[in-house]
């Protein structure tokens, strides 16, 4: 069962909002509705978030993403559609039952932190537990634990006003974590922070998510942030979800021109991984083959080095042209002493940005290792450079 499942969510503001939904169904545009005083903030949004996933909704201001996230915990009631949280349709719940869902299932982190200035950091972090009715010592202990996770346990007695922006948002995060819910909604949670702090917070969020396995629905207008955080990303425009996919799917196969123009500026080096640019190796040398075979393969394929693999494709090392030539001259019959093992390797998940250093150290292509050190592909230097140029910039060149 997915943690969150949204089906055909509409949110129209204005009088007679249901009529607006019917008109959207009949093909009326957002603009014609606006002329009648109806604002269609979210139109026919469907998506699902799996347990333990970071799902990012990315869109510019006015795209409806903040409205969408508020329909997930019922702060806004969708005009149409169903919103299931752990299989329970929250659009049909009574206010009391809805409060229980918010208390026990979903917590939220806000763009401007929304910390209570008259309460200490510890009391802020304990807020969700206070609402649950935990006694003071229990909830303060749990709040301390959450504050420790975000590195602020020493500040429990301070007031939020004494903390920097980044620290305040960590308190916001601690408040959501302390509540002990398995779903976290994060509404532009890092957007108000300085770029450097933002990156730090993202890394911390990823760490925490891996430790705690929370399901996170993250809203942002920053595509780089979306790509770095999101297991999957939903791109929103004018109230509609225009594409849902992994960062790589969206980068490499944008659903329309809008998404394409968006991803043009993305720092591809941070988003793409070795897996997405690697090529199948043109030729491999078996560990039980000899120098003559190696020499032949090199000549035929015009390469100066060969990767040596065992029968189950585990990478053993590399042999180079010079070593092979010498061995052939000496009449050596096996590869003993020829295989160099001190070569840089990368894994499928290594970000492109981290490949450059490795590539600089290696003379030929970079080997990419999968499970149990099996060779799954190679990245020649030329491929690495090509991967960084976007489709958009290629068009510019040809024009």
């Amino acid at each position: 069962m997915p943690a969150i499942k949204a089906e055909g969510i509409y949110k129209v503001f204005g009088r007679n909002a249901e009529r607006g939904v019917a008109r959207l169904h009949n093909g009326d545009s957002r603009e014609t509705l606006r002329a009648d005083g109806l604002t269609a903030a979210v139109i026919d949004a469907s998506f699902q978030v799996d347990d333990g996933e970071i799902f990012v909704v990315m869109g510019l201001s006015g795209s409806g993403k903040s409205t969408l996230i508020r329909t997930v915990n019922g702060l806004l009631e969708p005009t149409a559609g169903s919103m299931q949280v752990h299989g329970q349709d929250i659009t049909t719940l009574s206010p009391k039952a809805l409060r229980a869902v918010r208390r026990d299932r979903i917590s939220m982190v806000f763009q401007h932190f929304a910390l209570f200035p008259h309460r200490t950091v510890g009391e802020n972090a304990a807020y969700g537990l206070k609402v649950r009715g935990l006694n003071r010592s229990d909830r303060m202990a749990k709040a301390d634990e959450a504050l420790r996770m975000v590195g602020l346990d020493k500040w429990a007695g301070s007031l939020p006003g004494e903390l920097s922006g980044g620290m305040r948002q960590r308190v916001g995060l601690a408040r959501a974590l302390a509540a002990g819910t398995d779903i976290l909604l994060m509404d532009e949670a890092f957007s108000a922070l300085d770029p450097l702090i933002r990156r730090e917070m993202r890394d911390q969020l990823i760490d925490l998510q891996q430790q705690l396995g929370k399901t996170i629905l993250f809203i942002t207008h920053d595509l780089n942030e979306a790509m770095q955080l999101g297991d999957r990303i939903a791109m929103m425009r004018d109230g509609r979800i225009v594409q849902i996919g992994t960062a790589e799917e969206i980068l490499n196969d944008p659903a329309n021109d809008y998404v394409a123009s968006f991803v043009q500026d993305v720092d591809r080096a941070r988003v793409l991984t070795a897996e997405s640019v690697m090529e199948p190796p043109a030729v491999l040398l078996g560990a039980d083959q000899g120098p003559r075979m190696a020499h032949k393969l090199m000549r035929e394929n015009q390469v100066s080095q060969l990767f040596v693999v065992s029968r189950d494709r585990v990478l053993r090392g590399v042999v180079t042209e010079d070593d092979v030539a010498a061995a052939v001259q000496h009449g050596q019959s096996d590869l003993a002493g020829l295989i160099r093992t001190d070569i840089p390797t990368v894994t499928e998940g290594t970000a492109l940005a981290d490949l450059f250093g490795e590539s600089a150290e290696s003379r030929g292509a970079l080997p990419v290792l999968g499970e149990r050190d099996r060779l799954v592909g190679v990245i020649p230097r030329v491929t690495l450079l090509n991967a960084l140029s976007t489709k958009g910039s290629e068009q510019e060149v040809t024009q």
């Binding site: 939220m108 806000f110 209570f116 004494e162």
Partner: protein, 300 residues
């Protein structure tokens, strides 16, 4: 029909209607009016008796001490000088009258706030209520204060209750208005945070909205107290006691000595209460939290 006179308009006996309403209330709500009378008289007399039971010099020290604690020694010094001045002036019974005015102000202001805060909360949480309450408050505050004395005199004749009720009606509006304003001014994201964690409405009001509105509510309390004080003097006209009595004595006898000394005593009380209550606003948790603290710089 001519445009030069308004003979064509029907005669609207608005005043007569009010008169009828008040007469009806006087005839039919007797028990309720008696309860109000008893309660207010008991409160006011009790507090007045207590304030006058404390020896005047001890009272000066107590009030000055409170002032020093809330605002600082300079204000405490002012309190000592001002309150001793009241005792030093020769007009008869000036100090007991001042204490009686003090009691009237406190009782009126406390009751006005007890009524004003829930009304203000209602106005803040409900648009329709707000649209109804606002003009009523405008009416209550702009109606010349003396007018309230008339129906009150009908109900309770001369005495402290008449003065107190007129004072409460006149002084309540800023309490309502500033409570509503304070709650409406609370950052909507804070309220949303409360909702997002599943807090019920009442808990959000008590734990988030009201504390955050506190500095503005305190400004409302300050306004209510100041209006009460101005009204308490007017109430002296209907035998409510306090500093209003020597003031009217001074007016009716053209006795500048008595009038100016009583007036000065009112000024001292007014300044003391104003500075004291405005400083209470700064002492609320929210106001404290919004001030930069030295401790933060030291530990950062």
């Amino acid at each position: 029909m001519s445009l030069w006179n308004s003979d064509f308009l029907p005669t609207l006996n608005v005043g007569q209607w009010f008169n009828n309403v008040v007469s009806w209330m006087n005839d039919n709500l007797g028990p309720l009016l008696n309860v109000i009378d008893d309660a207010l008289t008991t409160l006011n007399d009790g507090l007045t008796d207590f304030l006058n039971w404390v020896p005047p010099l001890i009272m000066v020290l107590l009030l000055a001490g409170l002032g020093t604690w809330v605002r600082g020694w300079l204000f405490g010094l002012f309190a000592v000088i001002g309150l001793l001045l009241i005792q030093a002036m020769p007009t008869a019974d000036l100090w007991p009258e001042a204490m009686e005015s003090f009691a009237l102000v406190l009782v009126a202001a406390v009751i006005a706030m007890i009524l004003a805060i829930p009304i203000g909360i209602l106005a803040a949480s409900n648009g329709i209520a707000s649209r109804i309450i606002r003009p009523v408050m405008d009416l209550m505050q702009t109606m010349p204060a003396y007018v309230y004395l008339v129906p009150a005199l009908f109900f309770w004749s001369v005495g402290p209750t008449t003065g107190l009720v007129a004072t409460i009606v006149f002084a309540m509006p800023p309490g309502v208005r500033l409570t509503e304003l304070g709650i409406r001014q609370v950052d909507p994201e804070m309220v949303e945070a409360g909702h997002a964690f599943g807090a019920p409405r009442r808990q959000i009001l008590r734990g988030i909205q009201f504390p955050l509105a506190m500095p503005t509510v305190m400004a409302g309390i300050n306004q209510v107290i100041m209006l009460s004080l101005s009204m308490v003097v007017i109430a002296g006209l209907v035998g409510s006691g306090g500093l209003g009595e020597p003031v009217y004595q001074g007016i009716s006898n053209l006795d500048l000595v008595t009038a100016s000394e009583a007036g000065l005593a009112v000024v001292v009380l007014a300044i003391y209460l104003d500075r004291l209550t405005s400083a209470f606003g700064d002492k609320s948790a929210v106001a404290r939290a919004s001030r930069p603290r030295k401790k933060a710089a030291a530990t950062a």
